[in-house]
């Protein structure tokens, strides 16, 4: 988290809202460890990552939605998960990502 504080402070100083996505569980092969983070601003900027690039697009959208609604939610990504999300991990692993508005 320490590596994103300056970025978050810059966004907040500009009057933007911020959402944080955190990897909370991994199963099988997954590119990032539990605790890996991606931070997103309401202005459309992002920093960090929660995978090797496979699901950041979907997580970015979920972060925007979390900021608009002011609601946190848990996302699940798996290789064969076609129900809720159409993106998956090419590596065959599964990860749970918690998305929450910071402000």
């Amino acid at each position: 988290m320490h590596e994103y504080l300056d970025q978050i402070d810059t966004w907040l100083a500009r009057g933007e809202r911020v959402a944080v996505a955190t990897v909370v569980r991994t199963m099988g092969s997954s590119p990032r460890q539990v605790g890996a983070k991606m931070v997103v601003s309401s202005g459309g900027a992002m920093a960090g990552s929660v995978s090797g690039g496979c699901i950041e697009g979907a997580v970015f959208e979920a972060c925007q939605e979390a900021m608009e609604r002011g609601q946190a939610r848990l996302l699940h990504f798996g290789v064969a998960d076609e129900t809720a999300w159409e993106v998956g991990l090419a590596c065959g692993g599964m990860i749970d990502v918690f998305v929450e508005p910071l402000t």
Binding site: M1, L5, V24, V34, Q71, A72, F98, E100, P101, T103
Partner: protein, 239 residues
């Protein structure tokens, strides 16, 4: 939420450890937070005092170990993410040499708090080391005494026994995770002989990685810095 971030941010900025618990699913507001500091003080609640109590008992040892994971509480059916935020480990570079300039820059990117120590002001100059977290103008042995913990990494880089040897004496008596010393195989053999004569055991001397760095054919100071950092990561990631 904002209160939570202010507290977390303050702890991280001040280099203090803190653990957060976040309600991921279950009864209550998803995203509700409970914070715990090493001194036992807390802030916030997941909205269920009985759950808070059990959670704090689980969080305390996790904070000490720097561990993060999901915990399921069948009663009341809550899933909680506990995350430990611990200050980054420090990399101490003994010697404000050319390799240290590159190593400090790379180590910062990898997530280390960087500290350069040298008693010579021409080497430990703010102009050369504007990019380090801490620049210490002092004799390395005095500067390192009492500052090394089990996560600390130390790269001894002066090439000068007058500076290197006293530093190694302090480092070898510490619980440091990684100890590396610059020098050719023959320089390192002479260094080990001197330390052996002072009474250090073979097991103690075996903690020193020398010649320092992974063997990748590095030639330039920047390449040598890369090989040192790669070796540090390898040691950190080994069980």
């Amino acid at each position: 939420m904002a209160m939570y971030y202010e507290k977390l941010r303050a702890a991280i900025r001040e280099g203090r450890a803190v653990a957060t618990a976040t309600l991921v699913s279950g009864p209550g507001q998803p995203g509700a937070k409970l914070l715990l500091w090493p001194d036992g003080s807390t802030e916030g609640s997941l909205g269920d005092l009985s759950l808070d109590t059990r959670l704090l008992a689980d969080m305390a040892p996790m904070l000490i170990r720097g561990e993060s994971r999901l915990i399921e509480y069948p009663e009341p059916g809550a899933t909680v993410f506990v995350e430990s935020f611990v200050p980054p480990p420090a990399l101490f570079m003994v010697g404000g040499v050319h390799i240290a300039i590159a190593l400090a820059a790379m180590a910062r990117v990898v997530g280390f708090r960087t500290v350069v120590v040298d008693a010579r002001s021409a080497f430990a100059s703010g102009e050369r080391f504007a990019h380090v977290d801490e620049l210490v103008l002092a004799w390395p042995d005095e500067a390192l005494e009492g500052r090394l913990d089990a996560r600390s990494c130390v790269a001894v880089l002066t090439h000068d026994p007058k500076l290197d040897d006293p530093a190694l004496r302090v480092v070898l008596r510490s619980p440091a995770r990684y100890i590396g010393a610059l020098g050719s195989p023959s320089t390192h053999a002479r260094r080990l002989e001197r330390l052996r004569a002072e009474g250090f055991s073979e097991a103690e001397l075996a903690r020193i990685h020398g010649p320092i760095g992974l063997s990748i054919g590095a030639k330039t100071p920047e390449e040598i810095a890369l090989s040192i950092l790669a070796q540090i990561v390898k040691v950190q990631r080994s069980a």
